[in-house]
Symmetry: C2
Subunit: 345 residues, 2 copies
């Protein structure tokens, strides 16, 4: 340990419902020193993503929960401060997963060096990173959109949704975004080129969605569920596909919700429309990562894919920002700037 002080946010208690600073506690820590084969990383940017809510619960899921007392997990863009690891030098900028803290040690596993000349380093947490890859793999491998089909995506202005819609446009589809306010709807329609966007908080949401999908829905990329799913499923065409990426509407739900029971209506659609529903997590598609990086860097370079980031200053704002993410208050890929960015003027 050095004398230098850092900060971190640990999981103090498992939340039921919305996590607060009772569950996620900001605390001081001594900055550790690297042993041989390790390096000390300083966090520049921390990615906040909806999947983190799952890691706070003890329930069985596709990844192990964070242990009580441990720092919360998360993808980070870091600067190497001190290195006793071959191939890394102080000043290098890397993509790592040191979590919700200002400093952390790494043995290099799962770390990737970033070239700030090639793309802004924040994009490694968004459009060129896990969320972008999630959109790419889920839409193309499971959604299998064909030119002329209608693709609907929920949380449309979010880190994943904005990429899903733009790739679907590149594939020649009619793209309809669903988002939670008019500003987000205007953004995906006017700035990203979606054909239509519908605000799910408006009273006429179901009617507006149906009008935005005059030929029905062939692919629904699910990030949200809840009332959005209830409005979507009656519009499915025969042989439609529904990749299930996230269920934000349920993440803070405690217990089994009251009725009416939506499962029979959903299953009737599955049967009569021969709907294909498939949950996924991006790491199931890891072999596609090189193809993704090549395709996506090309699309960004050619201006075919654009992106929006929502950068919040300070680790101390991570908990309230995460709450906002679960409630849809962010606008674009949510990133916490934890420390100084050496690539910025």
């Amino acid at each position: 340990m050095s004398d230098q002080q850092g900060k971190r946010i640990v999981l103090a208690e498992r939340p039921e419902g919305m996590p607060t600073d009772q569950h996620l506690k900001l605390e001081s820590m001594s900055v550790p020193s690297p042993a041989d084969g390790q390096m000390l990383l300083r966090t520049i940017y921390l990615s906040l993503d909806p999947y983190m809510r799952g890691r706070m619960s003890a329930a069985k899921s596709y990844a192990k929960p964070v242990e009580i007392g441990d720092p919360m997990e998360g993808g980070t863009v870091c600067e190497v401060v001190e290195s006793k690891l071959d191939g890394y030098r102080p000043g290098d900028v890397v993509l790592a997963r040191i979590g919700w803290q200002t400093h952390g040690l790494s043995d290099g596993e799962g770390v990737r060096k970033l070239d700030p000349q090639q793309a802004p380093i924040t994009t490694a947490l968004g459009v060129m990173g896990m969320p972008g890859f999630t959109a790419y793999a889920g839409l193309l491998e499971l959604g299998q959109p064909k030119a002329g089909e209608t693709v609907v995506v929920s949380a449309a202005s979010g880190a994943v949704g904005q990429v899903v819609g733009q790739i679907a446009k590149l594939k020649g589809c009619r793209v309809v975004g669903i988002a939670g306010n008019d500003e987000k709807c205007a953004y995906v329609r006017d700035d990203l080129g979606f054909d239509a966007a519908v605000n799910y908080k408006k009273d006429d949401f179901e009617k507006a969605l149906a009008e935005a999908c005059p030929d029905g829905i062939d692919v629904y990329f699910e990030n949200v569920a809840g009332k959005v799913l209830s409005a979507v499923y009656p519009l499915f065409n025969e042989f439609s596909r529904m990749p299930v990426c996230g269920l934000i509407a349920y993440y803070n739900m405690t217990g089994t919700p009251e009725g009416p029971d939506q499962l029979p209506g959903f299953m009737r659609t599955v049967l009569t429309k021969r709907l294909m529903v498939r949950g996924f997590i991006q790491f199931d598609f890891a072999p596609l990562m090189p193809r993704f990086l090549e395709d996506m860097s090309g699309w960004i370079r050619d201006g075919k894919v654009r992106y929006k980031e929502d950068v919040v200053q300070g680790l101390e704002n991570a908990v309230s920002s995460f709450q906002g993410l679960l409630e849809g208050r962010n606008f674009g890929k949510l990133i916490i700037q934890v420390g100084e960015d050496p690539t910025q003027g």
Copy 2:
């Protein structure tokens, strides 16, 4: 028209909930005479299948509903009485779809001649017919069972379920059947060779199902839904598959049922287990029919697939038998014998 009188059951009124003889009316009719290019068929056996409940409702589904006043649809094994159609002679036994009536005309479309020497003619309505093909296509194409995996099937002693389980055994799987009484459970376990069978009407059903699936569930062939589905889905393994063939528990449901809402729990399983759910109807797989007929006739000849039929005498008993089918009171493939079987004694 000849002077001969026949009988038929027409859809007099669309049922809400369980259909009765108020909705399905038995009436007399004059037996029609064939025009050139037609033949007159006499029904020997009528197949009763759960899908018919869907045809009684006006709701949009994968097939058009039966019109009010028309005879109910259905697959039949018939004898040719009179033929003005090349290739068919009086006495020929054919698979046709003349519906719930003693006589009907056919122009030969969709008709297949049966060879009573090769297999009992009733099997064309069951194990060698639509239900057998449904089992074959849904299990193999969508369920994709691998040796050593656990396959669960509901309505396990029914026309489709009994075939699903036996094919899964042939593929080297552990097979667990779910049925509604102990006699059916004993049949699929002791006579058909399933590894285990569980009675869903018992109080300890959920526990018994979990015990019968110590390694979880990899494939669930859905015929029923309702409380059976609720017990199944917590047991799914990662990357499991759920072909959705039928939803008998919902067929007589009116309106949206009260809570609790099961959709969030089901969708959580879809996401965290990367479950694949896919509705289907056998005619989507029509190109596989020749391979099915070859495989299935071989399996039956070699004693690898057995079958059970539940033959009820008399068209006048079709309505009560159909009610029994929706309530699980039949035992094996339900068939109505409408007229004399010339291949018997």
